[in-house]
Symmetry: D2
Subunit: 284 residues, 4 copies
Amino acid sequence: MYAITLVIQCPDKKGIIADVTSFVYQYSGNIQYIDQYVDREKGAFFMRLEAELNEKNCPYETFIEAFEKGPASEFTMTWSHQPIAYKPKMAIFVSKYDHCLYDLLGRYKSGELAVEIPFILSNHPDLAPIAKAFEIPFYYVPVTKETKANATQEQLKLLNQHEVDFIVLARYMQIIPEELIEVYKSNIINIHHSFLPAFPGAKPYHSAFERGVKIIGATSHYVTEELDAGPIIEQGVAHVSHNHSVSQLIAKGSDLEKIVLANAVKQHAAKKVMVYGNKTVIFT
Amino acid sequence: MYAITLVIQCPDKKGIIADVTSFVYQYSGNIQYIDQYVDREKGAFFMRLEAELNEKNCPYETFIEAFEKGPASEFTMTWSHQPIAYKPKMAIFVSKYDHCLYDLLGRYKSGELAVEIPFILSNHPDLAPIAKAFEIPFYYVPVTKETKANATQEQLKLLNQHEVDFIVLARYMQIIPEELIEVYKSNIINIHHSFLPAFPGAKPYHSAFERGVKIIGATSHYVTEELDAGPIIEQGVAHVSHNHSVSQLIAKGSDLEKIVLANAVKQHAAKKVMVYGNKTVIFT
Amino acid sequence: MYAITLVIQCPDKKGIIADVTSFVYQYSGNIQYIDQYVDREKGAFFMRLEAELNEKNCPYETFIEAFEKGPASEFTMTWSHQPIAYKPKMAIFVSKYDHCLYDLLGRYKSGELAVEIPFILSNHPDLAPIAKAFEIPFYYVPVTKETKANATQEQLKLLNQHEVDFIVLARYMQIIPEELIEVYKSNIINIHHSFLPAFPGAKPYHSAFERGVKIIGATSHYVTEELDAGPIIEQGVAHVSHNHSVSQLIAKGSDLEKIVLANAVKQHAAKKVMVYGNKTVIFT
Amino acid sequence: MYAITLVIQCPDKKGIIADVTSFVYQYSGNIQYIDQYVDREKGAFFMRLEAELNEKNCPYETFIEAFEKGPASEFTMTWSHQPIAYKPKMAIFVSKYDHCLYDLLGRYKSGELAVEIPFILSNHPDLAPIAKAFEIPFYYVPVTKETKANATQEQLKLLNQHEVDFIVLARYMQIIPEELIEVYKSNIINIHHSFLPAFPGAKPYHSAFERGVKIIGATSHYVTEELDAGPIIEQGVAHVSHNHSVSQLIAKGSDLEKIVLANAVKQHAAKKVMVYGNKTVIFT
């Protein structure tokens, strides 16, 4: 027995669900979870499905090939699949802030995150001791105007060598080069320390303080070429008052950042996030 | 064209989704929404489905009959259906507290609740003027030890006459007689002014104050014979501090009660709530 | 015995609290509540105080005069006072949306709002029946390009006649003229249907939908000459998903608007909001 | 210059605030924060005050002595004080669950918690490697029926040796002996994995699942002799649905536990929590 996750996107049409579920049934599969969403305005259909199948009757590769020739081509699907048992490889990029790193590593060690972490990469050497304490390889790849091109190549090499599936920017204070974004499209997760689209850019807590807002937020989104404008995965908020100084806003915000980022990572790792246009569909 | 909601409960088995969706497809129906849930431990399958069908090809009654003979009997389903356009008839029972009544009626008049309100019933005459202001019939049915049996008969007569689908207890301070509960099983919605199962019974805000809790709540549930122990539909919470007096807890709680009750009503009216055992499955 | 609320703003200096509390003590007053806030960066001191005094020993006017000559002049305070028993007069301005109006009037009738409502004013006749049902005078003051100046005069006349203390814009879809803003500085409360500063201006729910946000909000703020940029009083948020259509965002948002506006009204009426610069200090 | 926190509890009486603030003023102190609360029913007055004083004019000990002889004896205060710069010593007790431990240590290393952690103590050896990774001494003190009395003595010895100010039970699965509770009265912080008073005792997530609640919670409270019944410091909640299995409830709950416990620790360390009766007053 093995379990598989299918994630499907295609033009909306009558009969897709009937066709896909009948297909699984025909291969003696048992659907354990199905969720779908239709964007009626754009005529787009989205589905996420978990099924249990029998290796003897229908090996993984056989099922995938048959699905590709069957429903996938019939409905011109964009689709992907992943064994439920598979733990995607997640690289963490950091700079000097350590709160999100500690949080991710603590959750990882507690068994809360179904991922592997092949390495941590930073443009500063400061957080190397944390990597060491958690026994994870640490690569120091400085980024300056002059070294930027080389740094990108080194990053790509490391990501490639370790067969990294997706990247988490745990408060990594560098703009990601286009080349990396292209290779890891919808696979680079950033945490922005504000409730986007309010206060994009640097120093959002200072801006929030100046504006006198009563709620602050954090936003996890996929990195696209336009800064802080990629598809939003998850947002969190906390109430604040006049009483909070900028540094207290930052402290409260750090808590949000950790939770919002961790949730985004969990959903992404479980293939629960689908990107279309500049938005996400998130299955629960 | 007409739209229909199907709500299904049956023993879990391979192929249910495939069978049901193929059935709808065969009748040229277009599934607009499908959600399902499986309780693996108990082997129970739940599904909610909205579909658009064509009156000419397949009138409502034809579809219902065919479904009954087809998937419903094949999988021994407990199921129900409702035209999406149908507005269920909701009776409101009140006593003297008016905040939930004002809230429900305001939402009703704003077009927020997809229901009809044939009447308001009370064991006190106090709230009659509100019913009048909102132009809804008001019945005063006093309940005393002596009149209890008669009152129940009068209530049943009114509910029957007006073909009431479900009852909302908007802070109705009387125990509902078994006879009524039987007729309206899983169709009487109560709002309890605490976060059940903490503080059941009367005066929960006083108990919450005594215990020094930092959060208060409200719970909407179906009425069963065991007091405050029926299946929970919706819960809401609010943070409080040592600073809140009992009367301030009550004021904060009133806000919760209104929102939690209104949400429960909306979900029930849209047939999004399924009861099984002493729990609910709520489709979104 | 009478109770009084004092609200004070002045340059920060040692000894203010000692001086004010000693002053109250000297007049045999009993302080029931005191809260203060210091903006260290700007050297600004803020205090809110509730005290019980004895009419015989120290009539209201005597106390006010003595305070003016005493602490108020010593520390060059900007201050104001209000008997706790006083219910400020609140005018409601509306257009065609009725959900905030129903909510405010329901709360008013339930005794939840410590205000009087001398009248409801609208630039459309549509909501007159609601005013009638709640037995509150309704004035229809249409606003067109040509009539705008006259309309402002008529509004001012009505506000003046009824000795209105503050104005609530319960989704009033007109820009407030400068003349009115000047007279009612920090006394006009607006509800904006987004989480400011994100999505200012019209159609924020459409913008939120386009951006694919996972949280929507509502903001209550004082009206200033710059549109949607005045001091924020209260904000609320709700989680949403890809699943929410624009109309569902609007429905969820309406709930937020009601609660956020009602809370802002309660705080303002109790003199718990102090404006300084473009921000508010809110005492609890 | 030094800064001091005063925390005061006494019978309510006119003039306390005036007296205390005048006292500070007289010693050329500058009050930076003051908050008070009166429980009118019980006639109890509570105050928390932060002030800056000058070591030359008024050394710490001089101020303390003068305050004891002055306001403290005049109003028969129960009071305590702490230099704001002081970092209280916090011992962490754990068993086998590691999520709260990782969270506390991550926050500690990030500089978020203003405490020192002299040691971690456990009745199991399992979490020793985490202590090692974070370079904090780890003591393994097994507790069995036979060794219980000895274990208590060993715990007391360690606490005494390291001059521990307060103890955090980060999911420590042992009942705390009375002897320890007496010594550390209102200084042992527990995290209970439910929304007390609902679901006290073991396996609250299983109980919550059985009852079909729509919200789960976590509660941080001081340990008293009655199990799970001590004064509540902080509570947190999260929404759940029928869709959550017991293990998903546990995962969601773990997040709550971490945040609620960390917040309780921060408030306790800053002397913002006052216990009276079985409740807490929490200054912000």
